[in-house]
Subunit: 69 residues, 6 copies
Protein backbone atom coordinates (compact mmCIF):
# COMPACT_ATOMS: atom_id res chain seq x y z
CA UNK A 1 0.00 0.00 0.00
CA UNK A 2 1.37 3.41 -0.96
CA UNK A 3 0.52 6.66 0.77
CA UNK A 4 0.41 10.17 -0.69
CA UNK A 5 2.74 11.59 1.99
CA UNK A 6 5.90 12.44 0.04
CA UNK A 7 8.51 11.85 2.70
CA UNK A 8 9.47 8.39 3.88
CA UNK A 9 12.75 8.21 5.74
CA UNK A 10 13.88 4.65 6.36
CA UNK A 11 15.56 3.87 9.66
CA UNK A 12 15.41 2.04 12.96
CA UNK A 13 13.84 2.94 16.29
CA UNK A 14 16.35 4.31 18.81
CA UNK A 15 13.96 4.88 21.68
CA UNK A 16 10.30 4.77 22.63
CA UNK A 17 9.00 6.80 25.59
CA UNK A 18 5.32 6.51 26.46
CA UNK A 19 3.40 8.69 28.88
CA UNK A 20 -0.34 8.30 29.17
CA UNK A 21 -1.95 9.18 25.85
CA UNK A 22 1.16 10.22 23.93
CA UNK A 23 4.47 8.67 23.05
CA UNK A 24 7.75 10.05 21.76
CA UNK A 25 9.67 7.86 19.36
CA UNK A 26 13.17 8.57 18.10
CA UNK A 27 14.25 7.06 14.81
CA UNK A 28 17.79 6.97 13.45
CA UNK A 29 17.48 7.19 9.69
CA UNK A 30 19.70 5.16 7.37
CA UNK A 31 21.33 8.52 6.61
CA UNK A 32 22.39 8.82 10.25
CA UNK A 33 19.95 11.56 11.24
CA UNK A 34 17.65 11.35 14.27
CA UNK A 35 13.96 12.10 13.62
CA UNK A 36 11.54 12.49 16.52
CA UNK A 37 7.85 11.63 16.24
CA UNK A 38 5.08 12.31 18.74
CA UNK A 39 2.30 9.80 18.17
CA UNK A 40 -0.31 8.23 20.44
CA UNK A 41 0.58 5.41 22.85
CA UNK A 42 -2.29 3.51 21.25
CA UNK A 43 -0.39 3.58 17.93
CA UNK A 44 2.82 2.40 19.62
CA UNK A 45 0.90 -0.58 21.03
CA UNK A 46 -1.07 -1.23 17.81
CA UNK A 47 2.15 -1.30 15.73
CA UNK A 48 4.09 -3.02 18.51
CA UNK A 49 6.91 -0.48 18.19
CA UNK A 50 10.07 -1.26 20.13
CA UNK A 51 13.72 -0.26 20.07
CA UNK A 52 15.57 -1.67 17.07
CA UNK A 53 12.52 -2.06 14.84
CA UNK A 54 12.98 -1.13 11.19
CA UNK A 55 10.45 1.64 10.41
CA UNK A 56 9.81 4.59 8.12
CA UNK A 57 9.33 8.16 9.38
CA UNK A 58 6.46 9.43 7.22
CA UNK A 59 5.87 13.17 6.76
CA UNK A 60 3.42 15.03 4.48
CA UNK A 61 5.23 17.62 2.33
CA UNK A 62 2.94 20.41 3.51
CA UNK A 63 4.29 19.88 7.06
CA UNK A 64 7.93 20.50 6.12
CA UNK A 65 9.38 23.97 6.59
CA UNK A 66 12.68 25.31 5.29
CA UNK A 67 15.21 27.29 7.27
CA UNK A 68 18.05 29.05 5.51
CA UNK A 69 21.40 28.71 7.30
Amino acid sequence: MAISARNRLEGAIQSVETDGIVAEVEIETDGGEVVTAVITKNSVDRLGLTEGDDVNAVIKATEVMIEDT
Copy 2:
Protein backbone atom coordinates in the same frame (compact mmCIF):
# COMPACT_ATOMS: atom_id res chain seq x y z
CA MET B 1 17.45 31.72 17.32
CA ALA B 2 16.22 28.27 18.22
CA ILE B 3 12.81 26.85 17.41
CA SER B 4 10.78 24.28 19.32
CA ALA B 5 10.31 22.05 16.26
CA ARG B 6 12.33 18.94 17.10
CA ASN B 7 13.46 17.90 13.65
CA ARG B 8 16.09 19.80 11.70
CA LEU B 9 17.62 17.89 8.83
CA GLU B 10 20.61 19.66 7.34
CA GLY B 11 21.08 19.52 3.58
CA ALA B 12 21.13 21.39 0.29
CA ILE B 13 18.37 22.35 -2.11
CA GLN B 14 18.11 20.03 -5.11
CA SER B 15 15.24 21.75 -6.87
CA VAL B 16 12.70 24.53 -6.50
CA GLU B 17 9.46 24.49 -8.49
CA THR B 18 7.07 27.40 -8.08
CA ASP B 19 3.52 27.60 -9.36
CA GLY B 20 1.36 30.55 -8.39
CA ILE B 21 0.89 30.59 -4.62
CA VAL B 22 2.75 27.38 -3.75
CA ALA B 23 6.21 26.00 -4.30
CA GLU B 24 7.70 22.52 -4.04
CA VAL B 25 11.27 22.34 -2.79
CA GLU B 26 13.38 19.19 -2.71
CA ILE B 27 16.25 18.99 -0.26
CA GLU B 28 18.98 16.36 -0.24
CA THR B 29 19.91 15.87 3.39
CA ASP B 30 23.51 15.37 4.48
CA GLY B 31 22.42 11.78 5.11
CA GLY B 32 21.61 11.38 1.42
CA GLU B 33 17.82 11.33 1.76
CA VAL B 34 15.51 13.55 -0.29
CA VAL B 35 12.92 15.52 1.70
CA THR B 36 10.15 17.39 -0.12
CA ALA B 37 8.56 20.55 1.29
CA VAL B 38 5.49 22.39 0.03
CA ILE B 39 5.72 26.01 1.14
CA THR B 40 4.43 29.28 -0.30
CA LYS B 41 6.14 30.97 -3.27
CA ASN B 42 6.26 34.06 -1.08
CA SER B 43 8.53 32.19 1.34
CA VAL B 44 10.77 31.00 -1.49
CA ASP B 45 11.18 34.63 -2.58
CA ARG B 46 11.53 35.97 0.98
CA LEU B 47 14.29 33.46 1.80
CA GLY B 48 15.76 33.70 -1.71
CA LEU B 49 15.82 29.89 -2.00
CA THR B 50 17.68 28.51 -5.00
CA GLU B 51 19.25 25.22 -6.06
CA GLY B 52 22.43 24.45 -4.11
CA ASP B 53 21.58 26.55 -1.05
CA ASP B 54 22.46 25.04 2.32
CA VAL B 55 19.21 24.77 4.30
CA ASN B 56 17.52 22.81 7.09
CA ALA B 57 14.28 20.88 6.63
CA VAL B 58 12.34 21.69 9.82
CA ILE B 59 9.51 19.43 11.00
CA LYS B 60 7.45 19.55 14.20
CA ALA B 61 7.49 16.15 15.99
CA THR B 62 3.67 16.00 16.08
CA GLU B 63 3.68 15.95 12.26
CA VAL B 64 5.84 12.81 11.96
CA MET B 65 4.12 9.45 11.56
CA ILE B 66 5.67 6.01 11.82
CA GLU B 67 5.17 3.14 9.42
CA ASP B 68 6.31 -0.35 10.33
CA THR B 69 7.98 -2.18 7.46
Copy 3:
Protein backbone atom coordinates in the same frame (compact mmCIF):
# COMPACT_ATOMS: atom_id res chain seq x y z
CA MET C 1 2.52 -2.04 6.28
CA ALA C 2 0.74 -0.23 9.09
CA ILE C 3 1.02 3.47 9.87
CA SER C 4 0.69 5.24 13.20
CA ALA C 5 -1.95 7.68 11.90
CA ARG C 6 -5.09 6.64 13.79
CA ASN C 7 -7.72 7.49 11.22
CA ARG C 8 -8.24 5.45 8.09
CA LEU C 9 -11.54 6.01 6.37
CA GLU C 10 -12.16 3.51 3.58
CA GLY C 11 -13.89 4.76 0.45
CA ALA C 12 -13.65 5.47 -3.26
CA ILE C 13 -12.41 8.48 -5.18
CA GLN C 14 -15.21 10.75 -6.41
CA SER C 15 -13.08 13.33 -8.16
CA VAL C 16 -9.49 14.38 -8.78
CA GLU C 17 -8.63 17.97 -9.72
CA THR C 18 -5.02 18.83 -10.37
CA ASP C 19 -3.56 22.28 -10.78
CA GLY C 20 0.18 22.71 -11.09
CA ILE C 21 1.83 21.51 -7.86
CA VAL C 22 -1.29 20.67 -5.88
CA ALA C 23 -4.32 18.45 -6.34
CA GLU C 24 -7.70 18.24 -4.64
CA VAL C 25 -9.15 14.76 -4.25
CA GLU C 26 -12.64 14.01 -3.01
CA ILE C 27 -13.33 10.63 -1.47
CA GLU C 28 -16.75 9.19 -0.66
CA THR C 29 -16.26 7.03 2.42
CA ASP C 30 -18.05 3.71 2.83
CA GLY C 31 -20.10 5.57 5.44
CA GLY C 32 -21.37 7.93 2.75
CA GLU C 33 -19.41 11.01 3.84
CA VAL C 34 -17.27 13.08 1.47
CA VAL C 35 -13.69 13.77 2.64
CA THR C 36 -11.51 16.25 0.76
CA ALA C 37 -7.72 15.94 0.63
CA VAL C 38 -5.21 18.43 -0.73
CA ILE C 39 -2.08 16.56 -1.73
CA THR C 40 0.61 17.16 -4.36
CA LYS C 41 0.02 16.39 -8.04
CA ASN C 42 3.20 14.35 -7.85
CA SER C 43 1.48 12.04 -5.32
CA VAL C 44 -1.60 11.74 -7.55
CA ASP C 45 0.65 10.64 -10.41
CA ARG C 46 2.86 8.40 -8.24
CA LEU C 47 -0.21 6.56 -6.82
CA GLY C 48 -2.03 6.72 -10.16
CA LEU C 49 -5.17 8.05 -8.46
CA THR C 50 -8.28 8.22 -10.62
CA GLU C 51 -12.03 8.44 -10.13
CA GLY C 52 -13.50 5.20 -8.78
CA ASP C 53 -10.31 3.93 -7.14
CA ASP C 54 -10.71 2.27 -3.75
CA VAL C 55 -8.57 4.27 -1.29
CA ASN C 56 -8.25 5.17 2.38
CA ALA C 57 -8.34 8.75 3.69
CA VAL C 58 -5.58 8.77 6.32
CA ILE C 59 -5.51 11.42 9.05
CA LYS C 60 -3.24 11.77 12.09
CA ALA C 61 -5.28 12.13 15.32
CA THR C 62 -3.48 15.35 16.27
CA GLU C 63 -4.92 16.97 13.13
CA VAL C 64 -8.56 16.32 14.06
CA MET C 65 -10.51 19.08 15.81
CA ILE C 66 -13.90 18.80 17.49
CA GLU C 67 -16.78 21.20 17.07
CA ASP C 68 -19.77 21.02 19.39
CA THR C 69 -23.09 21.42 17.61
Copy 4:
Protein backbone atom coordinates in the same frame (compact mmCIF):
# COMPACT_ATOMS: atom_id res chain seq x y z
CA MET D 1 -20.16 30.56 11.96
CA ALA D 2 -18.50 28.67 9.11
CA ILE D 3 -14.87 27.58 9.05
CA SER D 4 -12.59 27.11 6.05
CA ALA D 5 -11.65 23.53 7.05
CA ARG D 6 -13.25 21.41 4.34
CA ASN D 7 -14.04 18.29 6.30
CA ARG D 8 -16.81 18.15 8.87
CA LEU D 9 -17.91 14.65 9.82
CA GLU D 10 -21.04 14.65 11.94
CA GLY D 11 -21.27 12.11 14.73
CA ALA D 12 -21.43 11.44 18.45
CA ILE D 13 -18.71 11.06 21.06
CA GLN D 14 -17.98 7.43 21.95
CA SER D 15 -15.29 8.05 24.54
CA VAL D 16 -13.21 10.77 26.13
CA GLU D 17 -9.89 9.95 27.81
CA THR D 18 -7.97 12.78 29.45
CA ASP D 19 -4.43 12.64 30.75
CA GLY D 20 -2.76 15.81 31.97
CA ILE D 21 -2.50 18.28 29.10
CA VAL D 22 -3.92 16.11 26.31
CA ALA D 23 -7.11 14.20 25.69
CA GLU D 24 -8.11 11.51 23.23
CA VAL D 25 -11.67 11.64 21.96
CA GLU D 26 -13.29 8.99 19.80
CA ILE D 27 -16.24 9.97 17.63
CA GLU D 28 -18.56 7.57 15.81
CA THR D 29 -19.60 9.36 12.65
CA ASP D 30 -23.14 9.14 11.30
CA GLY D 31 -21.58 6.96 8.61
CA GLY D 32 -20.54 4.44 11.27
CA GLU D 33 -16.81 5.16 11.15
CA VAL D 34 -14.72 5.88 14.26
CA VAL D 35 -12.55 9.02 14.10
CA THR D 36 -9.98 9.71 16.82
CA ALA D 37 -8.93 13.23 17.79
CA VAL D 38 -6.11 14.28 20.09
CA ILE D 39 -6.92 17.72 21.50
CA THR D 40 -6.03 19.48 24.75
CA LYS D 41 -7.81 18.67 28.03
CA ASN D 42 -8.48 22.40 28.28
CA SER D 43 -10.57 22.15 25.09
CA VAL D 44 -12.48 19.13 26.43
CA ASP D 45 -13.35 21.16 29.55
CA ARG D 46 -14.07 24.39 27.62
CA LEU D 47 -16.48 22.57 25.25
CA GLY D 48 -17.78 20.34 28.05
CA LEU D 49 -17.30 17.25 25.88
CA THR D 50 -18.77 14.03 27.23
CA GLU D 51 -19.81 10.63 25.91
CA GLY D 52 -22.93 10.81 23.75
CA ASP D 53 -22.54 14.47 22.73
CA ASP D 54 -23.38 15.30 19.12
CA VAL D 55 -20.23 16.82 17.58
CA ASN D 56 -18.42 17.33 14.28
CA ALA D 57 -14.91 16.02 13.58
CA VAL D 58 -13.28 18.93 11.72
CA ILE D 59 -10.20 18.35 9.54
CA LYS D 60 -8.36 20.77 7.20
CA ALA D 61 -7.99 19.27 3.69
CA THR D 62 -4.22 19.77 3.72
CA GLU D 63 -4.02 17.33 6.65
CA VAL D 64 -5.69 14.44 4.79
CA MET D 65 -3.49 11.86 3.08
CA ILE D 66 -4.54 9.17 0.62
CA GLU D 67 -3.51 5.56 0.71
CA ASP D 68 -4.19 3.29 -2.25
CA THR D 69 -5.43 -0.17 -1.26
Copy 5:
Protein backbone atom coordinates in the same frame (compact mmCIF):
# COMPACT_ATOMS: atom_id res chain seq x y z
CA MET E 1 -20.70 26.46 17.71
CA ALA E 2 -17.37 26.20 19.49
CA ILE E 3 -14.32 24.39 18.14
CA SER E 4 -11.54 22.68 20.08
CA ALA E 5 -8.79 24.64 18.30
CA ARG E 6 -7.37 26.84 21.05
CA ASN E 7 -6.31 29.85 19.02
CA ARG E 8 -8.84 32.29 17.57
CA LEU E 9 -7.37 35.62 16.55
CA GLU E 10 -10.05 38.16 15.66
CA GLY E 11 -9.35 40.49 12.76
CA ALA E 12 -10.27 41.62 9.27
CA ILE E 13 -9.21 40.38 5.86
CA GLN E 14 -6.49 42.50 4.24
CA SER E 15 -6.15 40.58 1.01
CA VAL E 16 -7.34 37.46 -0.77
CA GLU E 17 -5.27 35.93 -3.59
CA THR E 18 -6.62 32.87 -5.35
CA ASP E 19 -4.78 30.66 -7.79
CA GLY E 20 -6.39 27.47 -9.02
CA ILE E 21 -6.98 25.14 -6.08
CA VAL E 22 -5.37 27.22 -3.32
CA ALA E 23 -5.80 30.71 -1.94
CA GLU E 24 -3.66 32.91 0.28
CA VAL E 25 -5.54 35.14 2.71
CA GLU E 26 -3.94 37.82 4.86
CA ILE E 27 -5.71 38.87 8.03
CA GLU E 28 -4.85 41.89 10.16
CA THR E 29 -5.67 40.93 13.71
CA ASP E 30 -7.26 43.35 16.15
CA GLY E 31 -3.83 43.38 17.80
CA GLY E 32 -2.31 44.79 14.60
CA GLU E 33 -0.46 41.64 13.52
CA VAL E 34 -0.74 40.13 10.03
CA VAL E 35 -1.55 36.41 9.90
CA THR E 36 -1.37 34.52 6.60
CA ALA E 37 -3.54 31.50 5.86
CA VAL E 38 -3.31 29.11 2.91
CA ILE E 39 -6.71 27.51 2.40
CA THR E 40 -8.52 26.14 -0.65
CA LYS E 41 -10.18 28.46 -3.18
CA ASN E 42 -13.30 26.38 -2.64
CA SER E 43 -13.35 27.54 1.00
CA VAL E 44 -12.86 31.17 -0.04
CA ASP E 45 -15.90 30.84 -2.33
CA ARG E 46 -17.96 28.82 0.18
CA LEU E 47 -17.37 31.44 2.94
CA GLY E 48 -17.57 34.32 0.45
CA LEU E 49 -14.34 35.79 1.84
CA THR E 50 -13.44 39.27 0.61
CA GLU E 51 -11.26 42.16 1.70
CA GLY E 52 -12.58 43.90 4.80
CA ASP E 53 -14.56 40.94 6.14
CA ASP E 54 -14.43 40.42 9.90
CA VAL E 55 -13.01 36.91 10.47
CA ASN E 56 -11.11 34.79 12.99
CA ALA E 57 -7.77 33.12 12.23
CA VAL E 58 -8.16 29.67 13.83
CA ILE E 59 -5.11 27.59 14.72
CA LYS E 60 -4.84 24.27 16.61
CA ALA E 61 -2.36 24.52 19.53
CA THR E 62 -0.38 21.52 18.29
CA GLU E 63 0.46 23.51 15.12
CA VAL E 64 2.09 26.41 16.99
CA MET E 65 5.87 26.39 17.43
CA ILE E 66 7.94 28.64 19.68
CA GLU E 67 11.11 30.45 18.69
CA ASP E 68 13.30 32.05 21.34
CA THR E 69 14.61 35.46 20.33
Copy 6:
Protein backbone atom coordinates in the same frame (compact mmCIF):
# COMPACT_ATOMS: atom_id res chain seq x y z
CA MET F 1 18.30 32.28 10.30
CA ALA F 2 14.94 32.70 8.59
CA ILE F 3 12.26 30.06 8.33
CA SER F 4 9.66 29.56 5.61
CA ALA F 5 6.75 29.55 8.08
CA ARG F 6 4.88 32.76 7.27
CA ASN F 7 3.52 33.64 10.69
CA ARG F 8 5.73 34.94 13.46
CA LEU F 9 3.85 36.63 16.28
CA GLU F 10 6.17 38.39 18.70
CA GLY F 11 5.29 38.25 22.37
CA ALA F 12 6.22 37.06 25.85
CA ILE F 13 5.53 33.79 27.64
CA GLN F 14 2.62 34.02 30.10
CA SER F 15 2.73 30.47 31.37
CA VAL F 16 4.44 27.11 30.86
CA GLU F 17 2.75 23.89 31.99
CA THR F 18 4.65 20.64 31.48
CA ASP F 19 3.25 17.14 31.89
CA GLY F 20 5.37 14.17 30.91
CA ILE F 21 6.14 14.32 27.20
CA VAL F 22 4.11 17.42 26.30
CA ALA F 23 3.95 21.02 27.44
CA GLU F 24 1.43 23.80 26.99
CA VAL F 25 2.83 27.28 26.61
CA GLU F 26 0.76 30.46 26.54
CA ILE F 27 2.19 33.51 24.84
CA GLU F 28 0.78 37.03 25.05
CA THR F 29 1.56 38.65 21.73
CA ASP F 30 2.64 42.27 21.45
CA GLY F 31 -0.84 42.83 20.00
CA GLY F 32 -2.37 41.67 23.30
CA GLU F 33 -3.69 38.32 22.07
CA VAL F 34 -3.01 35.01 23.83
CA VAL F 35 -1.67 32.21 21.63
CA THR F 36 -1.41 28.66 22.99
CA ALA F 37 1.21 26.20 21.76
CA VAL F 38 1.48 22.49 22.54
CA ILE F 39 5.10 21.43 22.10
CA THR F 40 7.23 18.73 23.70
CA LYS F 41 8.67 19.13 27.22
CA ASN F 42 12.02 18.34 25.64
CA SER F 43 11.72 21.53 23.55
CA VAL F 44 10.77 23.57 26.62
CA ASP F 45 13.93 22.33 28.34
CA ARG F 46 16.13 22.66 25.23
CA LEU F 47 15.04 26.30 24.71
CA GLY F 48 14.94 26.97 28.45
CA LEU F 49 11.47 28.51 28.14
CA THR F 50 10.15 30.25 31.24
CA GLU F 51 7.51 32.82 32.10
CA GLY F 52 8.41 36.30 30.87
CA ASP F 53 10.72 35.18 28.07
CA ASP F 54 10.47 37.11 24.81
CA VAL F 55 9.55 34.61 22.09
CA ASN F 56 7.85 34.29 18.70
CA ALA F 57 4.83 32.07 18.07
CA VAL F 58 5.63 30.50 14.68
CA ILE F 59 2.85 29.02 12.52
CA LYS F 60 2.99 27.65 8.96
CA ALA F 61 0.35 29.31 6.73
CA THR F 62 -1.12 25.95 5.71
CA GLU F 63 -2.07 25.36 9.36
CA VAL F 64 -4.20 28.52 9.66
CA MET F 65 -7.95 28.25 9.11
CA ILE F 66 -10.44 31.08 8.68
CA GLU F 67 -13.78 31.38 10.41
CA ASP F 68 -16.31 33.95 9.24
CA THR F 69 -18.06 35.74 12.11
